[in-house]
Symmetry: C2
Subunit: 286 residues, 2 copies
């Protein structure tokens, strides 16, 4: 399969390359946009690559503009990839009318219910097609891939790593929707995308997946205690309890004063990149 990429814009950043790209996605059936930061080391060799999954309303630009991650990626020799949070311009009636469903709210799963099932295949897009594009077109090391994300994208990072064991060697999240079947965001999205049977919901809920025996690499989660979504939507305590019962390694750090914004993410992004590098190195370079 030949891959055609349109380079929308490229910027030099910390002596590396920050690019924004578009391609026709076979899996989605529409154009999709993604972003890549290539550290200086990538001019010489294949480097570890981290996929960042953004949250509700975000695009492939958000993380690259707001997180301040490039300095550390440059220092540590890590490639960063982010992608849009859903298909766009699908023609589905009302697709952009509600920020919790449709455009900007793909929830990193393959929808099974019409009308969303025609285009909303974000799980297959991220784990298969985008992965293939990155490994084919950029100097990324297929044996050292990590995944992380924020909020809805934290849910995505956890569930994609749980559902595709071995694909990602390191995982972390900022303020993830950790038990979506127990919050309104998750219930709304899952009922629209997956239908009313909660059996299918369990397969896309990080806490339920841990409870049913799925496992992850050692997990780092940062959570702000001033996060306005903490009490009703995120439920990291549910995931923490499941991990304790399952002996799933989890470092869950609760930070007084911090909220749900990228000002919170930027404060702790360095720790996440170091976490990934440590696990990518230790698991694959023994």
């Amino acid at each position: 399969m030949s891959i055609k990429l349109e380079t929308r814009v490229q910027h030099t950043c910390f002596d590396g390359a920050q690019g924004f790209y578009q391609h026709h996605s076979e899996i989605i059936g529409l154009p999709m946009r993604f972003s890549v930061y290539e550290p200086p080391l990538a001019r010489q060799q294949r480097v570890p690559v981290l996929f960042f999954l953004a949250g509700l309303t975000c695009t492939e630009e958000t993380f690259m503009i707001k997180a301040g991650a490039q300095r550390y990626a440059a220092e540590l020799g890590l490639m960063l990839v982010s992608m849009d949070t859903s298909p766009r311009d699908t023609g589905i009636t009302g697709e952009a009318d509600d920020w919790e469903i449709g455009a900007g709210a793909g929830f990193y799963l393959d929808a099974t219910e019409p009308p969303w099932s025609k285009y909303f295949h974000m799980e297959s897009y991220v784990t298969q097609e985008l992965c293939h594009v990155i490994l084919s077109k950029f100097p990324a090391d297929p044996e050292r891939m990590g995944i992380f994300g924020h909020s809805m994208g934290g849910h995505g990072a956890l569930t994609l790593a749980l559902r595709h064991p071995g694909l990602y060697q390191s995982v972390s999240a900022f303020a993830p929707i950790a038990a979506p079947i127990n919050c309104l965001w998750g219930q709304k999205a899952f009922s629209r995308y997956l239908g009313e049977s909660t059996d299918s919901w369990q397969k896309h809920d990080a806490t339920a997946l841990i409870e049913s025996g799925h496992r992850l690499p050692a997990l780092l989660i940062d959570q702000g205690l001033n996060d306005p979504f903490l009490a009703e939507q995120l439920h990291p305590d549910y995931l923490e309890t499941a991990c304790q019962k399952a002996d799933q390694p989890l470092l869950l750090r609760r930070h007084a004063g911090y909220d749900h914004s990228y000002f919170f993410i930027s404060t702790f992004i360095r720790d996440h990149l170091q976490h990934h590098l440590a696990h990518l190195t230790s698991t694959t370079r023994q």
Copy 2:
């Protein structure tokens, strides 16, 4: 004069406080917005403060979201202030129709020509009223104030420092409009805001001000060589020549590959904060 601030939103960031504010500006005659990052050290004592002037189309949010400066401000104990780039919602016909003039394009001067002269008083706003608000409401040290900016805001930083000697003890710029009377951006803005007499233009042109005997603290400028505005609009070489003739200290760094974006700014922001801290300390703490 009692100062009333509306706090629009605050975020914890690198253990400091990132706030976005609005107040009624007496000098502008309308509400104005600005942003402040207070480093952790500011909880204990007054700290040096840097005013960042953003470029065309930007707002008080741009620098705080995109530059990645807070990490270094937290480490170095520096307060950061940014502000909107013009009055907004003035009712002037066509105020937002052209990105080079009017809303988002205040050029950090006091307009003398109608219709702009009624509200467009950005020089007095930044050097007097905002300065007073910051020193009154935040733990900033009035003896250690620096100014810097980007593009139109680089022009602003240079000219405000040149026109108000002693107010700012440190100055730097990213890709400034260094000789605005010699570029279309400057000619367009100055003719509309200041009238057709170029005598008044000279007083708001950094290169002309140096040539006419004005001086600055030791100046740092970073300029990307892939900047699409370099050849036609920025003219750092004009400023460099004037500084050489005038024995005005200038470190002008030209960076291959870098463009006009905040990806460029973020790469070198640490150097600028260190430049300011060094000069704020050395000039006022002897």
